[in-house]
Each structure stands twice: as structure tokens, then as C-alpha cells.
Symmetry: C2
């Protein structure tokens, strides 16, 4: 296992200490339990945006805490959900009376724990809503999920909803925007290598020197298909077309109904992409792939989109939602309307993502 | 060879096409010969800042073209100097009459070619100065260098001199600042894995699963010492102390003497760090190491610096000067005075590095 670490038991704490030392002008780390908040308290009248999940996907989510994005992030152990206790304490720390929106990636542990944390916070009089992100078109159900996994769209949601929260959206309006971005976003990933979890010390899956894995998730879980390694043009064309050809996706997601005072099941349907759509295009490194190779992916993706009549109006390129040191990439396309573009372009100042301030 | 590429012969062109497609709002790619300029012409009265070198270190230098940093970057083939022709054409494209400052990393090919390009440009009446960056304390002379190699300080110089050029520094004053930053900056790198050049297809050096290489350069060239893999604390302590304990470094660097109208040899001496110094601390990924591990490095580095009475006043953490997909990191420390801090904090808007605009 080749990693720059001390003992595997201490890596989360030591990463958090490093972040505090490096970004003390923007964030504040709480150690018992672990959560990261902005340095300044949430202004009165502003909904607090909270996310979290297993570690190993850095800079997500801790790197997105700061003005214009998250108010708090809860890191679990590597590839393990944070506890309800962390989420509850974070909610109490950042609620200014206007409520808390939890952005939850669709993994069984995260969904369950964020629901428990919401119940605990609501019992103390904090308004809460949980919105589930499930944008990975590659697999339905996996080792970690019932339904589609939450991947790249999460980064875009945290930026866009962060901008809207800063602009005064109330909890209902912010939840609606968050759900819309999830409906409009679709992702697919692939890997050239596996990753190694520090506690385990061995690769999550074995893969030969001439193979690639299509449809991987962000936890080193294998994908839908093992194939001979192909050219970046072939890989990118396949991934981009898969996203564009993904049909209407029906599923039931839980949310809190404040009127009925209970969790309810809501049917959600994604519209497929169509000619003439404008998109934000996000080409992401899984951690071990350098940015030089991402530009090769971007190039072919742009050609495919142009041919299909889809216009890229904004982009994001780099390692933003990773799987430790895995080599590979993912593509996320998000249909962009005026509201989405307005808050994508809004100022942000976080350790990992910055926009004009 | 596991890379997201098409044919090795086309990767530079395809990366450049990807950059043009992604960042057409900021940059403009010229294909014959290859160079990248800002989208807008250099304003009258502003010295043009140019850099370049072998590809494989992305985002350096192309990712640093834009307001507040470079006016042009010339990419060579992977780990191969660009040609004098590229540098000459880039200089002509961005000179607004106030001259061109070439920032040259100390590799034999780059130094020779930038000198030839400067001669060609001066023959056409363009004022030029070449400043050599040689900040790597690990080795003196290598496969690619006579003297110390130019590494991490290059990124900081491009930001700081970019800010000063924007602020109206003339060629002489900008050259002096550039030389000062080089004298004040020192770096050291290490690798957990080798990298694979696309044309070659095999690792630049062999390294076992339980070994690390200390003092590597950015071309996959081996370092000063092969050792058993140690903890991040031990590695970081050794690297930080090596930088701080590096004695006064004497060498002779060539520069253009406009009065004498010829290239002259100038003796340059770096002052060692001392207690009470303020520094900009830069923890860099060699490409394959994720940011999560860099925070472990930053943490220990901050502890060592505090113990030695050195104060970190700014930092930069991430993959900015890489060696393809190599796993490993480098540390750069730059003594920071008011002039350096002023231009470190100045606005910048480039594909890879952004500051408050």
C-alpha cells in the first residue's frame, strides 16, 4: 500500500488537522464528533447547507465548506457513512433558525443516518429537509446502494444550492432547486486502476494491465462491465452517449412532509436530455488521473455533444469527487436553465472551489 | 500503460484542443507552432510574461495563462523542451512593445532554447530577459540539468511576477523580482511510484512495493536516495528540515546585459532560511497523489515550521507541477516579504489558479 499516511487509524483526524492548519481563514474543524463548518456563524435568515459522507472522496465535501457553498460537512471513516450524531451536532452548530438542508448521496448508510439525524434535529425544533442525490446512470443497486448512486452531480448541487442559499432562498425553495438539479444531472464513471482503502491495504478489485472497468462507483466498487482498455475517444464517446441516451428514470425518494409531519415517498422522474439542451459539463478525475488526460476526455466529449446538438455553456475539470488514488474519470452532464446558471456563476470561496468574489 | 489517451503521437495536440474547447473564454491555442496565449492581446505598457517547457507537468504552464499570470506558454513534447521557434513565435504574439520576460526552468534544453529564442526576438527589436529558476535542493546536476533543477518555485514565480507585470513593472524591475523569488524559494520532492511516458510505455524507474524515492525530479528521473517507505510524518520532517537547513547556494546564471548587449554570467547566492522568516508554503502532488494525502503532509510540515520559528503566512495545496501520473509530493517554501505577498494576493484568472478578482 503506497500512501503518504501514518497509521490508518489516524488518517481522518490528521487530514482534518491539516485542513484546519491550511484553511483556518475559511473553515473550523470540530473534532468530537468530526465536522467542518465555516469560520463565521451562519447569518440570520440563511438556510444552512450540510452534506457529508464517507471519506476518500476529497476534496468533497470538506473542501466545499465556505461562502457560497456548504455551511458544514461531516466526514465518515473511509468509504463509511458518518454517524447520525455527527450530522445532528453539525446541524445544531450551523442552524440560524431558518433551517437545514441536508444533501445526501444515495448510499444506504448515508440515507439512513441522515434521516435519523434529521429526526433528532427536528425533535429539538430545527427545521430540516433531506434531499437525495442519485445521478449515476451506470448501475441500479450496488454493494452500497438501493437505486442509483449519488456521484458527480453532488458537487454541482453543492455549488448551485450554496449560491441560492446565500441569495436568501427559504428551505422549501432551496429544496425544490436541489431536487431539480438532481433530476437534471446524470453521471457515469470508469476506472483504469482500483483503489486501496488504508484499513484494508489491498485493492478493492483486481484489474489487469490491459483492462478497464466501466461504470465504477466512488467506493472502489466494480462497475457494470470489464473490457479491454480502449482509446480515450472510444471510452468518452461511449460514456457521453450513455448519459445522453439514458431514458426517463422513475424511482421513489423519501422526503420530509412538514404539513403531514412525517416522511413520505415521492415519485421522481428524470427527463432525458434532448437536442437543444444547454449543459454544465463536469469532467472529473477519480484521484490518480492527471488533468492532462482529462483534457483529452473533454475534447471528445465536446465533439460528441456538438454532434448531438447539446451546447456546453459552463464546465468544471479536475479532481473534485474522487476515490482515493484510483486512476479513471467520470463525466457529469447537468441540464442548465437560467436559475441553475445564475447560482453556478455566483461567488464562492472554499478550500477547493472558488468563483469570482 | 494505463492512460486515457489515443495514440501517443497526438496527445499534446489533443490536450491543447481540449484546453481550447474548455477555456476559450480565457485562452487561445496556436497550433503551428504550439503555444497558448491569453484570449485578449497584451495591453500596451505591460511586460509580457512567457514560460514553457516539456509537457507532462500540467497544469503548468498552460493552465497558468490568463489575467494575473502568464501571457503565453509553450508546451514541448512530454518531458522535452519546446523549440526556439515556438518561444520566438509566442514572444512576437504577446509583446506589446514593453518587452518579454521568459521564465525558464533550469534544464539544459530549456535554457539553450530560450536563449536562442531570445536572440531571435532581440534581432527583431523585441526587448527580452530570461530568468532561470533553479530551486530543487535535492540534486546538483542530473540527467536533465547542470546545477539545480527548476521545480515548485516556478509556479509561485509565475503568480507573483504575473501580479507585478499587471501592476506596471517594467522589464528590469520585473526581472529583479523574478530573481529575488528564485533566490528566496527552495523545494524538495519524493515519489512512491514512477511515471510512464506515453512514447516509451514503461516506467522511468523501477521501484518496489515497499520503497520510496527521495529527491526525484519532475521528469521521472530518480532522486538522491532509495529508502524503505516511511510514515508521512517521517518523510515530511526530513523534507522540511532539508529545505530549512540548505546552506547558502552559490552558482553562476546567465542573463542578458542590455548595456553590454551580450549574455553575461552573474553569480547568484541564496540566503538560507532563518528563524523569524515568513513563508508561502506550497505542498504539491506529483499527479497521482490525492489531495487527502497532501493534507497529511501539510499538517506535519506546519508542525516542523512552527518548531523552527518559521511562520506560514500563505499556502497552496494541490497538483500544480506534476510528473504525469506519478504518486508522490513536493514541498516548496518561499521566504515572503511585502512585495512578494502583495503580488501573491493579487487577482488572477487562469484555467488552473484563481484568486479573488
Amino acid at each position: 500500500m503506497k500512501k503518504l499516511i501514518n497509521h490508518p487509524d489516524n488518517i481522518i483526524r490528521e487530514q482534518l488537522e491539516g485542513m484546519q492548519l491550511a484553511h483556518g481563514d475559511l473553515i473550523k474543524v470540530n473534532y468530537e464528533p468530526y465536522y467542518i463548518t465555516r469560520k463565521e456563524a451562519t447569518p440570520e435568515g440563511k438556510v444552512a447547507l450540510v452534506s457529508g459522507g464517507g471519506s476518500g472522496h476529497e476534496p468533497m465535501h470538506g473542501g466545499f465548506v465556505g461562502k457560497g457553498m456548504l455551511d458544514a460537512a461531516c466526514p465518515g471513516e473511509v468509504f463509511t457513512s458518518p454517524t447520525p450524531d455527527q450530522m445532528f451536532e453539525a446541524a445544531k452548530a450551523v442552524d440560524s433558525g431558518s433551517g437545514v438542508l441536508n444533501i445526501v448521496k444515495n448510499y444506504t448508510g448515508d440515507v439512513m443516518n441522515f434521516e435519523m439525524a434529521a429526526d433528532m434535529a427536528m425533535a429539538e425544533g430545527i427545521k430540516v429537509q433531506n434531499i437525495i442525490v442519485d445521478d449515476d446512470i451506470a448501475v441500479k443497486d450496488s454493494l452500497y446502494t438501493a437505486g442509483r448512486r449519488g456521484v458527480g452531480t453532488t458537487v454541482l448541487i453543492e455549488k448551485i444550492c450554496g449560491g441560492a442559499a446565500e441569495d436568501g432562498y427559504d428551505l422549501k425553495k432551496l429544496s425544490d432547486l436541489c431536487k431539480k438539479v438532481n433530476r437534471y444531472g446524470r453521471s457515469m464513471g470508469m476506472a483504469l486502476t482500483s483503489c486501496i482503502t488504508p484499513a484494508n491495504g489491498s485493492p478493492s478489485f483486481e484489474i489487469s494491465d490491459d483492462e478497464m472497468e466501466i461504470g465504477i462507483g466512488i467506493h472502489g466498487e466494480p462497475g457494470i462491465e470489464r473490457d479491454k482498455l480502449k482509446s480515450v475517444d472510444e471510452i468518452t464517446e461511449m460514456m457521453t452517449n450513455s448519459i445522453l441516451d439514458d431514458p426517463a428514470y422513475h424511482r421513489v425518494l423519501k422526503e420530509w412532509d412538514a404539513g403531514k409531519n412525517q416522511w413520505v415517498d415521492v415519485e421522481v422522474v428524470d427527463d432525458p436530455f434532448k437536442k437543444g439542451d444547454q449543459v454544465i459539463a463536469f469532467v472529473n478525475s477519480m484521484g490518480g488521473t492527471p488533468v492532462s488526460e482529462l483534457y483529452g476526455v473533454y475534447r471528445k466529449m465536446a465533439h460528441v455533444l456538438e454532434k448531438r446538438g447539446i451546447k456546453v455553456v459552463r464546465n468544471l475539470i479536475g479532481p473534485f469527487i474522487t476515490s482515493l488514488e484510483m486512476q479513471g474519470c467520470s463525466i457529469t452532464l447537468l441540464k442548465a436553465d437560467d436559475e441553475i446558471l445564475k447560482y453556478w456563476d455566483a461567488p464562492a470561496l472554499t478550500p477547493a472551489l472558488r468563483k469570482k468574489m
